[in-house]
């Protein structure tokens, strides 16, 4: 019962202080409509350029990798099959490491 009253008091105080914090930023205006439109238009152009560049890079990298794979398959088939096994294993290991690191970070926090 006492704990409940304490919790309620704390939550009321927290809400009141957050309202006070909000009020500190009441006078900050939102960007004007033309400014927002300009920002979005510039961002749309930047994104289009970036995705074109990324697509080009993707095709270049894909062509490069494909030519290497075909060359290895033609000249050293054993190396090709070893790589086929090692690469997925390395990817899975990497994913597991990221997952473990995130869990540890969350536990730390």
């Amino acid at each position: 019962m006492n704990n409940d009253t304490g919790d309620k008091k704390l939550l009321n105080k927290l809400s009141a202080e957050l309202d006070r914090l909000d009020a500190q930023y009441d006078d900050i205006p939102a960007p004007s409509l033309p400014a927002m439109q300009q920002f979005l238009a510039a961002e749309a152009i930047r994104r289009r350029r970036q995705s074109r560049r990324e697509l080009l890079l993707f095709w270049l990298a894909a062509l490069f990798l494909l030519s290497i794979v075909l060359a290895v398959l033609g000249f050293a088939p054993a190396v090709y099959w070893v790589l086929q096994a090692v690469i997925p294993l390395a990817a899975l290991g990497g994913l597991a490491a990221v997952r473990i690191r995130r869990r540890l970070e969350e536990r730390d926090q």
Binding site: G6, L10, L14, L21, D22, Q24, F39, E43, A44, Q109
Partner: protein
């Protein structure tokens, strides 16, 4: 959601950039104020608000209207903030947090208002606890909704809220 907002959403989803600009402008102050409270750092809040606007522009087609538009923006902003924090080194993160809180404290003091020990304690909570407490007890979201915003199970949210409140209680008692 008002009919006007729904209409703006429909137009924005059809590629109307000025409808999208109007929609985002309408929600900008709400988003910025949420980010101030979540980050306790005005300059970071501004950066994240801009990033959220850009991400919302990219994803507007996938907004399905099951939650309020403001909740959708909160989800995007929260995930961007969590992602960004993950990339920061711990020391830089601490320094940035200190600078952010100092900026807010300065704003209070420059208007001859007393700085709040509750806000100070809130700014020291770890990020997952601070956001969970804020969304639960200030914005009134359910544990399930917060779980979906932060991409964790509702049980985890519940324990973060409880740990956050316990920490706040402890710090405020120590200050008394």
């Amino acid at each position: 959601m008002s009919e006007g907002t729904l209409e703006l959403i429909r137009q924005a989803q059809q590629g109307d950039l000025s409808a999208l600009a109007g929609l985002l402008r309408e929600h900008y102050n709400f988003l910025f104020k949420y980010l101030i409270k979540a980050t306790m750092d005005p300059s970071l809040a501004e950066e994240l608000a801009q990033d959220t606007v850009v991400r919302a522009m990219e994803k507007i087609g996938s907004y399905n209207g099951t939650s309020a538009f403001s909740s959708w923006l909160i989800t995007i902003a929260t995930r961007l903030y969590i992602d960004r924090k993950r990339r920061w080194k711990r020391e830089a993160d601490w320094l940035r947090q200190e600078r952010g809180t100092a900026a807010i404290r300065w704003r209070f003091e420059s208007r001859n208002m007393e700085w709040s020990e509750v806000l100070d304690a809130l700014s020291r909570l770890p990020l997952p606890q601070r956001i969970s407490v804020l969304l639960k007890h200030y914005y009134g979201y359910s544990y399930e909704e917060i779980g979906s915003i932060m991409e964790v199970p509702p049980g985890t949210v519940k324990s973060r809220v409880s740990a956050g409140l316990q920490q706040l209680r402890k710090e405020l008692k120590e200050d008394e």
